[in-house]
């Protein structure tokens, strides 16, 4: 397999990003690509480990050693096929996955992991451009009809898989376009929406029905759904964002991150907006929350030509490089600097927001206090302790990017009467089936907010369970 000694002579080479001054002016994808020759050399660095930690770390169990080897040998098509065995839509993860695999790569002990994510994207783009990805509708139909609620990664995966198995699948989406958070959450500069459209077109040709602008329970009754479909797959995500109920929260200019991000993507798609557009132009922007969504807000604000962007986080700054608390091969909790951060932003840590300050009903700033995290000797848990003086961060646009808490219970879920787990997610067993017979749940709705790749893995599991369920009918 491969070239066992390549890693000794060939260095990790990332394709890198478009120059900041250029990319900051548009919403096009920021990541660049390598030449095919370089890409193959990068793949050659895979050592075909006896214990491939990459493969272990990947929730989907992608066969990294296998497809790196094929890519190294120039067998792009076979590489795509192997990749596609475990991964339905590598063009998505190839762009937005935090690449758990690379963190666990044995070469990452030296911080020189194989560029697995980029290789994945490259193989897949080549497959699209060479026309290797063609509709492959099922040869036989089983006669079973399945409803999939939600068209994010989990929903699309389950739809795709069940369709391939010959079941007739209809995907219901409350938004006007399919894709869930990938469509309206992830900024275009990370994932161009044409990438989603391209895949959706293929899925449609293969026979999946997509029904947009339809909220089940509202636009279509649950009874109809139950009557028409043999199984219901819940994949509507964890829609409830975590809010910050402190003084001044109802001031104008304070928004949930998703409001900005989704509005931005809608704008770019040329959709008319229901509300007044949120803009960061010439504003002091404060992003509360240090995660990926926060980072997306930073990037979007920058593209709006904000005067100043500040991002604050409650937790302390993670270490740079290595974190002994999360050693290899586990996912490292270390400082991540995204392209958006590079584009300009002040990042601060260990700050808790006490209140929002406003003038004339509009926000002007936020009062924050430094905190320290200390271990509680009794419970062993880390506890927050305020230290130092409070200070005020000037802000006329505040974006709350503190994650999501649980799925929306109101509406369909409550109507179905599914049980919830202690965190408010739909409770499922190993089979992804909910407490209601014939109703399955996967992705964020069942697991809580997580990564695209986990949603996909969960969707795959759901497809297997639903198929088994249908076979027994």
């Amino acid at each position: 397999m491969g070239n066992p000694k390549a890693f000794l002579t060939i260095d990790r080479k990332e394709a890198g990003y478009r120059p900041i001054h250029e990319r900051k002016t548009d919403f096009g994808e920021v990541e660049q690509t390598l030449s095919n020759a370089d890409r193959m050399l990068q793949a050659s660095r895979c050592m075909d480990c006896g214990v491939p930690f990459c493969h272990w770390a990947c929730p989907l169990g992608n066969k990294m050693p296998e497809y790196q080897d094929l890519l190294y040998k120039g067998k792009w098509k076979e590489a795509y096929e192997i990749l596609n065995e475990t991964l339905d839509f590598p063009e998505f993860t190839g762009r937005v996955c935090p690449a758990l695999c690379e963190k666990s790569c044995v070469l990452n002990i030296d911080h020189k992991a194989v560029t697995i994510r980029e290789n994945e994207a490259a193989v897949t783009e080549r497959a699209w451009s060479e026309g290797w990805i063609v509709p492959n509708p099922p040869k036989k139909r089983t006669g079973h009809k399945v409803a999939v609620i939600g068209s994010g990664p989990a929903g699309l995966v389950v739809a795709n898989r069940l369709n391939r198995m010959g079941h007739e699948v209809t995907v219901f989406e409350k938004d006007p376009f399919m894709g869930g958070l990938m469509r309206f959450g992830i900024p275009n500069f990370k994932l161009s929406k044409t990438i989603i459209d391209r895949r959706l077109a293929l899925l449609e040709t293969e026979g999946i029905h997509f029904v947009a602008n339809t909220e089940v329970g509202k636009d279509i009754t649950l009874e109809t759904l139950k009557k028409d479909y043999s199984a219901i797959c819940l994949a509507m995500g964890a829609g409830v964002a975590r809010d910050l109920s402190v003084e001044g929260r109802n001031l104008k200019g304070i928004h949930l991150a998703m409001e900005l991000l989704s509005q931005q993507n809608r704008q770019l798609m040329g959709l008319t907006l229901e509300n007044e557009p949120i803009t960061a132009k010439d504003k002091h922007v404060l992003v509360i929350g240090g995660g990926d969504t926060g980072s997306d807000c930073v990037g979007t604000s920058g593209r709006h030509h904000a005067t100043q962007v500040t991002q604050i986080e409650l937790l302390p700054q993670p270490p740079v490089g290595d974190n002994p608390q999360t050693p290899w091969p586990y996912y490292p909790n270390i400082l991540k600097t995204s392209t958006s951060h590079e584009e300009g932003c002040e990042r601060r840590w260990s700050l808790t927001t006490k209140r929002f300050i406003g003038k004339d009903g509009h926000v002007t700033g936020a009062e924050v206090v430094s905190v320290e995290w200390v271990k509680d000797p009794e419970s062993g848990r880390m506890q927050m302790k305020e230290v130092g003086k409070s200070e005020i961060i000037k802000a006329d646009l505040i974006l709350l990017a503190m994650g999501f808490t649980q799925p929306e219970h109101e509406g369909l879920l409550d109507m179905l009467g599914v049980d919830y787990d202690p965190r408010g997610n739909v409770k499922t067993g190993r089979t992804t089936e909910s407490s209601v017979k014939g109703v399955f749940a996967a992705g964020d709705v069942a697991t809580g907010a997580s990564l695209v790749v986990r949603a996909m893995a969960s969707g795959r599991q759901m497809a297997e369970s639903v198929n088994t369920y249908l076979a027994g009918k």
Binding site: P4, M47, V51, G61, K63, P65, D110
Partner: protein, 1501 residues
């Protein structure tokens, strides 16, 4: 009383081994005197160290003597016998119980009568029972001598006696006797009789007063002393048997017995008449030697002369590399079409009362020396010096040579040498002509037909036959590309087949057996000359008793694996009315188990019909698999047919050809041959190759890929054979050198008769289910998926489970790095509660109900001292990793192991920070790299590595490019020179040899304990018992799962057994034998947690080894790339860049071992024990916890594994006393006293002493004293000069240190100068010698094995393997046997005379000069690695002359004088043998020197 002769727990008497000392004394003139008998007894008594004693220190393993019938003595007893030759007599063992004895007597007399003979007299043989040990006395028979008379000539009477005896044996076997083997006719003959018993050599004379009677006369006395691996009272197995005294072991015995059983149907003998009543020819319950004797006796009785009968059974090697006459080759080839060799190391001494002689196996793996005196007495024995004669009385001294025979005829008063004997045999018939006219070679045939290699529906077929991506990528592609066996790393951590959830090929349930200790594996590469895959198929109706040309109507095949083209030819041969029949190995998939069973039955019946219809061979084929028909596992089909035909006595008449999609890797082929196939056509493997070529996956043309593939299979087969010490595929076929693991006895008994399985397992139902699951994967309704990676070699999420997986590796590393006990418990949890069992121990649990407080348990420090790290050489792992382990073990009080490869003396000293990198255990492996006196005296334990888990029975090679300055230095070699570790230790061919090596090492360092490392396999317990008797202090049972570093893939996966079985068998056997108290037991093999440790302890281990886990702690991530030198974490590499990536610290290991000890304490507390010692050997505390994850697991049965002797047996179950080493009275003790001034003050000293063959290892203890004081630098030259007179025992001058000179006037036995460490040894014939020293053998085999420096001058010839693995010493000798300079890596060897075959095999360094007076040296030289030239270079000329001058100076050799006097004439007759690698190194050195000079030249500018 326990019956030792039937299986008990894991112990099975089937695995008994023995080895021995043998000898005979004969008066060539045939004059019968008592002094010959006396002489014979003395020979025996002088080889007492070659026999062994039982646990009671009194019982011998067996001794005996064969003499001519002492006619006068019998008359003197008042028995009115007729004249000599007209009556037969012999001893008979009767059962003690009178009733049984009477029954036996009745049987005997009635059969004698029925045969027309008269039982003239029965004499109670006087014996002296008082001297017996407890064990032998427990089963002492009543011994009577019977005298039988009858009509006819002596030859006729002899035959009648034979027939009568066979009939009595048969009647006894079928009788109601309770202890059938207690009735045993020792011998019954008109010519000779045997006295033997469960005695030690010293007891024989005292036990049988007859032997001391002055009228007890004979011209022949053949003696034997036995060293058995058990201590059980088996009087009948003492030797000599009726014709033979055998020192050695028949490795192929199982096959030989089966074939003989099958052959009985085609035998006819005019002389013996109706043979049916004599069957079985091979009496059951006998040892391998006993069976061989039965066979030999049968051939002789049927009219074959003794030497010919022997040559049929133990033929010489006759392949192209052997310099024997063509006529003889033809004879051997002819014979080989009918009879498979009885293969294994052997000194066979034989006598029928008129002739007495000896022969050696083809590889000369046992010593035998002879001497003829001026008064016509000939002595042949395992050692020289067993009888001493004044120098002037010795006419000739010599040795038996590999494959050669020597014989005395006491009637004609002459000695027959091999050439003459063989000439007679070869000339009896025109064998060459017979062959040329009848035998056809497949290679010579061709046809115009086109043969396809591809296969339609390839993927479906591949799925149906379970091909995986790994099969193709890791095995088949490397084979096709390189023509070599593929290599993997880091052992095996997947479940055994029966525990796996994945469907398995039937092949996966079998394990290869291998030789350890009791006989040596062979090096199939360097000793290719004894190996052969040649086979014949066709007419087998041969009655081997009456040779005719017809029997060679056969097809000869060079390779047993044939291509499609060859198969097509074979199928269509119509030559000489050849015909074959095809039988499909298929069954209807829907029919399940029933259908499979029916199909196999019908195959057997059809095979039987094929025989009746006169077909020459049947072709079992699985072509034709389709949606309805699934394939019968080929192994099941082959073995079922093979055994069925044996059973119905039709196996000899037909051959089995297999055309199957199933076999793809070496193990598969080995299994099919091992269970009876003659030829295999793996058509699917070829189709896969064809597909790979077409898809350009391999960039070779198909023919080349095919050739490489077949070549690698063949090479692999040779290796599999050789690891059992078997040289020819013909004797391997049907020998079933396998054991099963996880197969029910029901299946084994029915289809694989004779195969052992220890834990029960699958039934036919499971076999059928797996076959059908795989069949469905290919031909089921679901569409065919891609060929998958099933994670058998590398870990995969949905693949086979691996004990070392991301979770366990990560948790262990994090826990030990952070020193967090909490994290460690997470690791323990991941290992102990793995959900699905991987190892046998996962089925074991113990009682947690009697928990005690953990504070009551002994401290961790008491436990860590039982820990050792595995033997990993510096070379296989980096210096950083090696030293980290040593430091950690020294801190926690455990022991680290040098591994094979020496140790830098700098590590013997403490480091400035107080830590020590000294490895407490110094390993002594077959390569003997860096094994010097200094190395040995710096050990707390010296470990003899007999086998290693990942590749038991195999050698290894460190390629030259990996040998850098430092590795070369610690290994006492030269950078850039390949270092080969031979498969066997060349000084351990048998258990008594091991005893000798242990004795050697104990002498050098009396303080160190000596341990022996064995690998788990069936029979390892028996081997261990032998090792305990050989005085090892500790025995390590290694599991087959272990093994770091590179090994052939097939060995990692398919050789050896899980450690639990080997450990339990060892414990049980040692306890049963009463030997457990005197040895400690250690174990290793995937031990990971405290639970693993306590379970191992309960199964019998006192100490525990860790290798892989220790490496993981140091950063290993199980890349399994050790063989590529690309270890990305700097553990298993010498690459500077990669070593920088090493992040391990010894503190991590200290954490690890302390945590482990804590975990052990935790478990002990849970069980309610305070000390680990309290649970050692307490298998009764273990419970079998059944699991039913899959239907196969349900069928496991651990009752044998958990067997314990009743607690009141009074036998020790753990080590309670030290071994008694007999080193208190060795010569060295007094020499050391004499030499004290030299040792203490370096003042020179000289003295002279007498020496005998019983003085063994002289010089080693003295050298140890030198090394202790002065290290490897030793003393100034000639500080101690000692002259010895007489015959030196084995290992004379072993490890002799610098500054000591030993001069021996007399002769020497084997292993002289072993491990020579700078000393000088001179051997000259005694003063007064009349023969020409140049022509005579003066020293034994395997001289200077592993010598690192020093000088040896021998005025005479030496035996086989002179200078084997010499890495720096200088030697001059006047002639040498086979394999001279084998594996030599340095030093100089000068041979002033003839050499044997295979000179310089595997020689990678040093230079040899050979005087080639006959001009035929190149024929005797193995040219694989060396180059020959004349001595042209002046420097060489000078060097050679100086060496010969030194030889003359020390020995006054007339030959040396002659050469020096005529230097210019002689120098032209010398051949210089130089390894190609060494030449390059020398060349590079020269260039380097020139460059330096150039650089130093000053220039004007």
């Amino acid at each position: 009383m326990v019956n030792y002769l039937s299986p008990l727990g894991l112990y099975d008497p089937e695995f008994e081994h023995d080895a021995c000392g043998v000898g005979f004394v004969a008066r060539i003139t045939g004059e019968r005197t008592h002094d010959i008998v006396e002489s014979g007894l003395q020979v025996l008594e002088n080889m007492v160290h070659r026999g062994a004693e039982g646990a009671d220190q009194k019982t011998g393993d067996g001794a005996g003597i064969l003499v001519q019938i002492p006619h006068e003595f019998i008359l003197l007893q008042g028995i009115a016998v007729p004249e000599r030759g007209h009556y037969g007599t012999g001893l008979v063992f009767f059962p003690r119980a009178k009733q049984e004895a009477d029954l036996c007597m009745e049987m005997l007399s009635s059969i004698v009568k029925a045969e027309g003979l008269t039982l003239l007299h029965v004499r109670d043989v006087p014996v002296n029972s008082d001297i017996l040990g407890e064990i032998s006395r427990s089963n002492e028979p009543v011994i009577r001598q019977i005298v039988v008379t009858g009509p006819g000539k002596p030859e006729e009477l002899e035959r009648k006696l034979y027939i009568a005896r066979k009939k009595v044996e048969k009647a006894a076997a079928q009788s109601i006797l309770t202890e059938k083997r207690n009735f045993y006719i020792v011998s019954l003959s008109t010519q000779k009789m045997v006295y033997k018993g469960m005695l030690s050599s010293m007891q024989l004379r005292a036990y049988f007063p007859d032997l001391s009677h002055p009228n007890f006369t004979s011209a022949i006395a053949l003696v034997h002393s036995r060293f058995s691996t058990n201590t059980f009272p088996t009087w009948d197995l003492a030797q000599p048997f009726r014709l033979l005294g055998h020192n050695g072991e028949i490795n192929t015995i199982k096959g030989n017995r089966f074939w003989m059983q099958a052959r009985e149907s085609v035998l006819k003998s005019e002389l013996l008449g109706n043979l049916e009543p004599l069957y079985p020819i091979l009496q059951s319950g006998m040892s391998d030697s006993g069976s061989l004797d039965n066979m030999l006796e049968f051939l002789v009785m049927a009219g074959k002369p003794l030497p010919q009968a022997l040559s049929m059974l133990v033929p010489d090697s006759w392949n192209d590399k052997n310099p024997i006459p063509d006529k003889l080759k033809a004879y051997y080839e002819y014979n080989s079409t009918m009879m498979e060799p009885w293969d294994g190391p052997a000194t066979l001494l034989f006598s029928d009362g008129r002739y007495a002689g000896g022969m050696l196996d083809r590889n000369g793996l046992r010593p035998a020396r002879y001497l003829i005196t001026t008064d016509d007495v000939m002595i042949v024995a395992s050692e020289t010096g067993v009888q001493t004669f004044p120098a002037e009385k010795v006419r000739e001294k010599g040795r038996l040579k590999p494959g050669k025979t020597l014989m005395v005829d006491t009637l004609e008063h002459r000695v027959y040498y091999d050439a003459e004997l063989k000439e007679t045999i070869a000339s009896e018939h025109p064998y060459r002509e017979w062959l040329e006219k009848n035998r056809i070679k497949l290679d010579d045939l061709s046809s115009g037909r086109e043969v396809k290699n591809n296969l339609s529906n390839l993927k479906a077929n591949m799925q149906a036959f379970g091909y995986t991506k790994e099969d193709i990528e890791r095995l088949m592609i490397p084979m096709a590309l390189e023509g070599k066996e593929p290599v993997s790393s880091m052992g095996n951590d997947t479940p055994i087949a029966v525990l796996s959830d994945k469907p398995q090929r039937l092949f996966a349930y079998f394990r290869q057996l291998f030789a350890q200790v009791t006989n040596p594996p062979i090096d199939p590469i360097r000793e290719e000359l004894v190996m052969s895959l040649t086979g014949f198929i066709g007419a087998h109706q041969a009655n081997l008793l009456e040779p005719t040309a017809d029997y060679c109507k056969v097809v000869k095949l060079k390779s047993p694996v044939i291509t499609n083209r060859e198969f097509d030819l074979l199928k269509n041969i119509r030559y000489k009315r050849f015909s074959s029949v095809e039988l499909p190995m298929l069954f209807p998939a829907v029919g399940g188990t029933k259908a499979l069973e029916k199909a196999v039955n019908s195959l057997c019946i059809k095979a039987e019909e094929a025989v009746e219809n006169g077909h020459n061979y049947l072709i079992l084929t699985d072509r034709g698999v389709n949606a309805d028909l699934a394939a019968i596992p080929s192994l099941l089909a082959v073995s079922a047919v093979h055994h069925h035909l044996i059973e119905c006595r039709k196996r000899m008449q037909i051959d089995i050809v297999v055309e199957s999609a199933e076999p793809r890797e070496i193990m598969h082929f080995a299994l099919l041959f091992g269970y009876g196939a003659s030829v295999i056509n793996p058509y699917m493997a070829f189709a896969v190759l064809d597909d790979l070529v077409v898809r350009k996956e391999i960039q070779l043309d198909y023919e080349t890929a095919e050739k490489h593939y077949v070549k690698s299979i063949n090479k692999g087969l040779l290796k599999v054979l050789s690891k059992m010490g078997i040289s020819t595929l013909r004797s391997y076929r049907g020998a079933q050198i396998f054991e099963a693991i996880g197969i029910s006895s029901e299946v084994l008994h029915r289809y694989f008769e004779g195969t052992v399985s220890k834990v029960e397992g699958i039934t036919l139902e499971d076999i059928a289910r797996d076959a059908i699951v795989m069949h469905k994967a290919g031909f089921g309704v679901d569409s065919i998926k891609e060929i998958e990676n099933k994670g058998v070699y590398s870990w995969r999420k949905d693949g086979e489970l691996h004990a070392w997986n991301p979770e366990t590796i990560a948790r262990l590393q994090i826990a030990t790095r952070t020193g967090s006990w909490e994290k460690f418990t997470e690791y323990v949890e991941a290992v102990d509660q793995k959900g699905h069992p991987i190892f046998l121990r996962d089925f074991l649990d113990f009682n947690h109900e009697t928990a005690i407080d953990i504070d009551q348990v002994e401290p961790a420090s008491a436990i860590t001292k039982r820990f050792v790290t595995g033997a990993m050489s510096y070379g296989s792992i980096s210096r950083e990793a090696h030293e980290a382990m040593a430091i950690a073990m020294n801190i926690v009080g455990g022991k680290s192991n040098t591994g094979e490869g020496g140790e830098d003396p700098i590590r013997y000293k403490l480091r400035p920070d107080g830590t020590s990198t000294r490895s407490a255990i110094k390993q002594v492996a077959s390569g003997r790299f860096g094994v010097t006196a200094e190395y040995l005296v710096n050990a707390d334990e010296i470990q003899i590595k007999v086998a290693q888990g990942a590749k038991p029975g195999e050698g290894g090679q460190l390629p030259g490019y990996k040998v850098d300055e430092i590795i070369a230095k610690t290994r006492h070699s030269i950078p850039g020179i390949s270092l080969i570790s031979p498969p066997p230790h060349h000084d351990i061919y048998s258990i008594e040899d091991l005893a000798q090596l242990i004795f050697d090492l104990k002498n050098v360092n009396p303080q160190a304990r000596i341990s022996v490392k064995l690998v788990s396999e069936s029979g390892v317990g028996t081997v261990a018992a032998g090792v305990a008797k050989a005085k090892a202090d500790m025995i390590l049972i290694s599991g087959c799962e272990g093994g770091t570093g590179a090994s052939p893939s097939s060995s990692i996966k398919h050789a050896g057994l899980p450690v639990e079985i080997g450990l339990a068998e060892t414990q049980q056997t040692l306890v049963l034998n009463g030997l457990r108290g005197q040895v400690r037991l250690q174990t290793d093999g995937q031990l990971k947690t405290g639970r693993d440790i306590v379970i191992s302890a309960m199964l019998g281990a006192e100490e525990f080894g860790f290798a892989t886990s220790a490496l993981i702690v140091l950063g290993c991530v199980m890349m399994r790339k050790c063989h590529l030198n690309t270890c990305p974490v700097g553990v298993a590499t010498q690459n500077e860049e990669l070593r920088k990536k090493f992040t391990g610290r010894y503190t991590y290991l200290v954490n690890f071992f302390n945590f482990l000890a804590e975990d052990v304490r935790r478990n002990l507390a849970a069980m309610g024990f305070t000390k680990l010692d309290d649970i050692v050997g307490r298998a009764d505390l273990l419970q079998f916890v059944p699991k039913d994850d899959n239907p196969k697991m349900k069928k496991l049965d651990f009752s044998k594994l958990l067997y314990t002797l009743p607690s009141d047996s009074g036998k020790a179950i753990r080590n309670i006393k030290p071994q008694i080493h007999a080193i208190n009275d060795v010569q060295d003790r007094s020499i050391i006293e004499l030499a004290m001034p030299a040792l203490e003050m370096q003042s020179p000293i000289q003295f002279t002493r007498e020496i005998r063959n019983t003085d063994r290892t002289v010089g080693a203890m003295l050298s140890g004293e030198v090394a202790k004081r002065y290290g490897n630098d030793g003393l100034p030259n000639d500080t101690i000069i000692c002259t010895f007179k007489g015959s030196a025992g084995q290992s004379f001058g072993a490890f002799l240190a610098k500054g000591i000179t030993f001069r021996l006037e007399g002769d020497a036995n084997d292993y002289l100068g072993k491990g020579l460490s700078g000393g000088r040894i001179v051997v000259v014939p005694p003063v007064g010698t009349t023969f020409d020293p140049h022509e005579n053998i003066i020293a034994g085999n395997t001289l200077m094995y592993g010598a690192t420096s020093g000088e040896v001058y021998i005025n005479g010839q030496a035996g086989e393997r002179f200078c084997v693995r010499n890495s720096g010493a200088i030697a001059v000798v006047e002639g040498a046997g086979d394999h001279c300079c084998e594996y030599m890596t340095g030093g100089r060897t000068v041979v002033l005379g003839k050499t044997g075959r295979n000179f310089a095999a595997g020689m990678s360094g040093g230079i040899a000069y050979v005087l080639d007076e006959d001009g035929d040296f190149d024929f005797f030289c193995n040219m694989q690695m060396v180059e020959l030239s004349l001595v042209e270079d002046m420097a060489d000329n000078r060097e050679l002359r100086n060496l010969i001058a030194a030889h003359y100076r020390y020995t006054q050799s007339p030959k040396a004088r002659q050469i020096l006097d005529n230097w210019n004439e002689y120098v032209e007759k010398f051949i210089r043998v130089i390894p190609i690698e060494y030449k390059k190194v020398l060349h590079d050195e020269k260039i380097e020197a020139v460059k330096k000079k150039i650089a130093q030249v000053e220039y004007d500018y």
